[in-house]
Amino acid sequence: MIAPITGHRWLFRLIFVGLCALILFFQVLPLHTAPPRVPGPDLMLCLAFAFVQRRPDFVPLFLLTVVFLMADFVLMRPPGLWTALVLLASEFLRNRHIGTGEVPFPAEWLLTAAAISAVYTLYVLVLGLSGAVSPAKGMLVMQAVFSILCYPVVVAIVHLGLKLRRPSPGDTEAVGRLR
């Protein structure tokens, strides 16, 4: 009885890691090496938040840590800071949704927007306080806005493509191990 659910869970964890690796892979492709005028959205962030708010048991703490720390190192970000902020934000979103069954999407979007803005604000603040060279703030703001705008698209893909739904309260097998 336990075995198929556990297998299912591990399958989705693998899918999450695979999707993140794919995003990283396409970001790193040297297609345009000139500096862009407009940064793209941070898709990994959107994906992580979409997963956390649907099936938190598919993105456990250590998985998030490893994936985002890897991204920190590969994308030349200051290692650890971005990961720590994303972890805290995902924990906040995770705790918000425990036992609340179905949440209307606009509410979820608003909450996620707040989380994304908080992550970006704290990132700039901590980088500034620690005296590290902070990337252009205008571009960071643009990226945050694009990430918020892209969130519904990512959710749609996750919802329709992966059939990732929040478990209904009757779905005891899933609810029992929500976190």
Partner: protein, 304 residues
């Protein structure tokens, strides 16, 4: 059933909080370590990237190639106009080539007459661009040559047309090139006709800014910018680009290198040139005649 769940939550939650605290503390500690001892962490980063990214080169290079083909196919449509333009340019180039050959011969003759000693020829290692930084805030590329090929931090990199950046971070099989457009890049340059020295500072825009210019009035748009070799970091005389006035009225450089699409880069081996450290000492005549008293006793003992 319901009570059971509540019990579980009450038990799990504090443990989970501690766990999150520990992980976040570890991550913040990593960040602080990076701030304190950046070179060590960056070395670790280079080693990690060296393990991860080249192992994807089997996928990176074909996908990159296909994307390049698609882009080339898009430009297929205006190939006729391009062809005409190339022909026109070729005609001009032929005339220039003739002039250059004559000048080269003349120059060689003059140098020979004057017995001028030239800098040793620069040799280079060519690498393929594996990956870029992946982030819109950092401008760097990863090459598939590394410590195995004798690459050393700080060497200059060109794409055959102009200076592109410098090596910063070397792994066993890969090396990272910080491009001139990166906001951390600072390169000493000379502006050609006026001969002024300045610093070329990247600011994450396609055209880096010229800073610390002594007399901006002497500079005109179109002036050549070459590397100056100040500080002994870079070989001198590498073409960087041309001066252009930015839309924000600052003096910027239009780079000669083709930064839109970097594929193959040359890493120039720079050899340490001899550095003159002392200001020069007094040249005294050789002591001849009566030897020093100590020298005398020493030689006396030696003879006995």
């Amino acid at each position: 059933m319901a009570r059971d769940r509540h019990n579980q939550i009450d038990y799990v939650r504090p443990v989970r909080r501690i766990l999150i605290g520990v992980v976040v503390l570890f991550l913040v500690g990593l960040f602080v370590l990076w701030r304190i001892d950046s070179p060590r962490v960056e070395r670790f980063r280079a080693a990690l990237v060296d393990r991860v990214v080249p192992s994807f080169s089997w996928a990176l290079l074909p996908v990159d190639g296909i994307a390049g083909m698609i882009e080339d196919f898009q430009s297929y449509t205006n190939i006729y106009a391009q062809n005409q333009e190339l022909r026109r340019e070729l005609r001009q180039m032929k005339a220039w080539k003739e002039a250059a050959l004559q000048l080269e011969q003349e120059n060689a003759k003059l140098l020979d007459l004057n017995k001028v000693r030239l800098d040793p020829q620069l040799t280079y290692v060519t690498g393929v661009v594996l990956a870029d930084s992946g982030s819109p805030f950092r401008q760097s590329v990863l090459l598939n040559v590394g410590a195995r090929d004798g690459i050393v931090d700080g060497w200059a990199t060109t794409d055959g047309l102009g200076l592109v950046g410098r090596i910063s971070g070397v792994g066993q099989n890969s090396a990272r090139v910080i491009l001139l457009t990166d906001s951390n890049s600072r390169i000493p340059v000379t502006l050609q006709p006026s001969g002024q020295h300045a610093i070329l500072a990247g600011d994450n825009s396609p055209a880096p800014v010229i800073e610390f210019l002594e007399n901006p009035d002497l500079v005109r748009p179109g002036d050549r910018v070459i590397s100056s070799g100040d500080g002994g970091v870079f070989p001198a005389g590498l073409l960087v680009g041309q001066v252009a006035l930015g839309t924000d009225r600052r003096i910027r450089v239009r780079l000669s290198g083709d930064f839109e699409r970097l594929e193959f880069l040359r890493v120039l081996r720079s050899h340490h040139s001899e550095v003159i450290t002392d200001p020069g000492s007094l040249i005294a005549p050789l002591v001849s005649g009566p030897p020093m008293p100590e020298g005398m006793s020493a030689t006396g003992e030696a003879t006995q």
